[in-house]
Amino acid sequence: MLRVIAACGNGMGSSQIIKMKIEKVFKKLNIDVKIEHTSIGIAKNQAPSYDVVFCSESFISTFDSAAARGTIIVPLKNLLSEQEIEEKIVKYIVNKEA
């Protein structure tokens, strides 16, 4: 099972939306996941113990050190676009593992 964290500024609004959207797409792709959502600040500390972090492109630099330790960081432009999320899951996760 993939451990996933969705992050945004305060960990309230947009990360919740990311969570709902990626949950739907992961289900469609038949990938087993456990998703949590939180703030950028907390996610930064927790990221190394997760497999994947989803966040808005504007916060991507926060996760440089986690990325260096092997966590997959997926930057999103449109948090609500299931199409974009699906393409990125395939690009960053499915193809990477294959």
Binding site: G9, N10, M12, G13, S39, S56, S61, T62, N78, L80
Partner: protein
């Protein structure tokens, strides 16, 4: 009949008027209605109720931590103080509501009526011209709390049910109309991203999209874009809400408590003894605000995520194709990453200048910068402003917005008397539109409420009137809209 009444009485005394259980009950009911299995409904009930109880502890903690400082300010300078931040505002509103002996549960009832009314306005969109459903749960909680206190303040005699209905209609209208106002600007920014902003500064976003092109083109000289500049890397630490809140609180409360001095604090706060280190007392006290804010957010996150999911489920089941209005941070991915930082920086500068102004001109209420308005409002304005008017518009607009946030917040905290509990909502619409609504309600009573609802409902009509042929396309078929607009 008597049996039924006694069941109702029991329900009312133990669930309806106890917000923690009411929230849990609503979530439980929502899950059942969405045909989820019973064990998931049970889990939802537990998480929502525990989340609310956590929130309660944190809201109480914020107010209690603030109390000695407020008392000392009153004692030494005859000053009141308020942090302009929706979490502080929510805690202050809850304290104010409970202080006059009303149940905070009404906040949840208002929220549900307002959400339902927003849905109704969209169902009849051919008539109302409203295209958006507001589904940002934590914002709905905060605004219901602050607005509920405003109504109790303006209508102290009104019965609870009347209050819930009236405010539900008013707030639902605001949610629908204000988020609908951001459709064009957000679709333009995101090139048809398919969402609108449903947050705390929709009138500000609209205003920004109107004035940014003018500022960006003053004297015919086009402004630089944010893409052309580079910002020092250390600024990005303030993207971290824990760091940003802690720093802001330390800055403000550090200055305030240093001025108040150790002797006064020792007499007022029994947690501090003159012989211990004042520096570390200040450090601990300031950071305690961050602690309770983090706890408060944990609690809100727990019960709101349950709510948001069911709101989304309900609106997509009832209104397929309606446009969701979501958190303003959803727009950040479409702006330059610098926009978020520039907005925060110049918004903070505007706020600090205005706060200095309050001190110099001896305002009876001191304002303390809170993280959410200064960061989220201004970052959002900067993203929209940069798109339409470049760097110059982003700087000018966020600086002015910072000033408005402080002056409007100071007025509101004093007028609506939440300064005694140390907070005011503080986001842009709540420093501009809502104080005006409050003044109308206070002075004209029901007539005022009527005027506000009618004026709000007229806004989408005006928008529609200006662009009849393509108004609905802007939300439903952006490519067609764009093609028509570019002609």
């Amino acid at each position: 009949m008597e049996f039924l009444l006694s069941i109702w009485g029991y329900f009312q005394a133990n669930i309806l008027t106890k917000p923690a259980f009411f929230v849990g009950f609503i979530v439980f009911l929502g899950y059942i209605l969405l045909r989820k299995p019973i064990y998931e409904a049970f889990a939802g009930f537990i998480k929502a109720t525990v989340g609310y109880l956590i929130l309660n502890i944190a809201a109480g903690g914020l107010v209690t931590t603030f109390r000695p400082i407020l008392a000392a300010l009153k004692d030494r300078f005859n000053l009141q103080a308020a942090v302009i931040d929706p979490y502080f505002g929510q805690a202050a509103a809850q304290a104010a509501i409970e202080n006059v002996g009303k149940s905070f549960s009404m906040m949840m009832q208002v929220l549900l009526v307002a959400f339902a009314f927003n849905l109704i306005l969209v169902i009849f969109r051919k008539l109302t011209k409203v295209r958006t459903v507001f589904i940002t749960g934590h914002i709905m909680v905060q605004q219901s709390a602050t607005a509920l206190w405003m109504v109790i303040f303006c209508f102290p005699e009104l019965q609870n049910n009347g209050m819930v209905m009236m405010l539900g209609l008013l707030l639902g209208t605001y949610w629908a109309v204000s988020s609908n106002l951001t459709v064009e600007a957000t679709q333009d920014l995101t090139d048809g991203g398919g969402f609108a902003v449903g947050h705390q500064q929709m009138f500000g976003v609209w205003l920004t999209s109107k004035i940014a092109p003018k500022i960006g083109n003053i004297g015919g000289k086009k402004s630089k874009s944010l893409d052309e500049i580079k910002l020092p890397g250390f600024l990005s630490v303030f993207n971290d809400n824990v760091v940003a809140t802690g720093t802001l609180m330390l800055l403000f409360f550090g200055i305030i408590m240093t001025i108040l001095g150790p002797e006064l604090m020792a007499t007022i706060d029994d947690k501090y003894k003159v012989e211990s280190s004042f520096t570390f007392y200040i450090l601990e006290k300031s950071l305690t605000f961050s602690v309770y804010l983090a706890i408060l957010q944990l609690g809100v996150r727990m019960f709101v995520s349950e709510l948001t999911e069911s709101f989304q489920g309900i609106s997509s089941r009832l209104l397929p194709g309606s446009m969701p209005a979501v958190d303003c941070a959803a727009t950040y991915g479409f702006g330059n990453p610098n926009a978020v930082t520039i907005g925060f920086l110049f918004g903070a500068l505007g706020q600090f200048v205005a706060i200095l102004g309050l001190v110099v001109f001896k305002s009876p209420v001191l304002i303390i910068t809170g993280f959410v308005p200064v960061f989220f409002d201004n970052a959002t304005f900067a993203v929209f402003a940069n798109k339409k008017g470049g760097l110059r518009a982003a700087i000018v607009i966020t600086f002015l917005a910072g000033i408005v946030q402080v002056l409007g917040g100071a007025f509101a905290a004093s007028y609506f008397q939440t300064a005694q509990f140390g907070g005011w909502h503080g986001n842009f619409d709540w420093d501009t539109v809502w104080p005006v609504i409050g003044i109308l309600m206070k002075n004209l009573q029901y007539v005022g409420v009527g005027i506000v609802i009618i004026a709000l409902l007229a806004i989408p009509q005006l928008q529609y009137f200006k662009n009849k042929a393509h108004y609905f396309e802007a939300a439903e078929d952006y490519d067609a809209y764009k093609a028509a607009m570019n002609k």
